[in-house]
Symmetry: C2
Subunit: 146 residues, 2 copies
């Protein structure tokens, strides 16, 4: 497993307010801007800050992994080059004692799963063949999945 | 303000358990390893994942900014090249409506303050003249402060 954070994602209570703060207030420029759903902002070399509408985030991640006691409304992501690497990293996390949610194909075309670190910080492990997903990994297999 | 996350910091409940998970479990290599206090791990180009002992983190950040209802045990950091830029970014955040904790000189030689985004996600704005602090900014003024 490479040492790499690809996304920092925040499940916002009010996406419009968060967007206003980062984009109009701090002057950050969105790389992706889908009203009511998500705003993504470059935050470094191969690093993206993702502001999600909380409901849209929960629809993707699953409610129980986003809210509730001890669950933080944010996650880190580790993006990898191939779907097989998603399973490999999740297996590594499981063998290190992490709670793992096995990867699944996502409606948007990716393949992602989750693990939680000892403090309950959730990590998404993702193969994301979309344009922003491709930007965050060093080298990506762009071959369509069979 | 540049679009840049420099540190992702987690205030761990049990630093030894977190260290074991990331270092022995996932195989990540520490860039700094101070038992009972902090473990820092490279997480990308100019990006560091910081695992803090919660008490050490609170001693630095201030208890009220780390725990309590609605306060998350983690923070993001935006590192800048000079102390003056710390004040400038905090001023920008204040004018964007953020709650700001003004910057102060720190015992370890840096100059740091905080703001909170609309969801209460805390951002440290830091001038850090130490070796790891220098690594995360594009160009650093290494002139000693007067």
């Amino acid at each position: 497993m490479d040492q790499r954070i690809s996304f920092v994602s925040i499940a916002t209570a009010d996406l419009a307010a968060s967007r206003r703060f980062y984009v109009e207030g701090l002057g950050w420029e969105p790389a992706l801007d889908v009203p009511g759903e998500v705003v993504m902002l470059g935050a470094g070399e191969r690093l993206v800050l993702s502001l999600w509408d909380r409901a849209a985030f929960e629809a993707e991640v699953g409610e129980s992994t986003v809210s509730g006691p001890g669950v933080l409304p944010f996650s880190l992501a580790h993006n990898v080059e191939t779907p097989a690497l998603v399973d490999e990293v999740l297996g590594l996390a499981a063998s290190a004692g992490a709670q793992v949610r096995l990867a699944a194909d996502r409606a948007w075309g990716g393949y992602t799963g989750y693990f939680a670190d000892p403090d309950g910080v959730r990590w998404e492990v993702a193969w994301n063949p979309g344009p922003i997903g491709l930007q965050v990994v060093p080298g990506t297999d762009t071959t369509p999945r069979v």
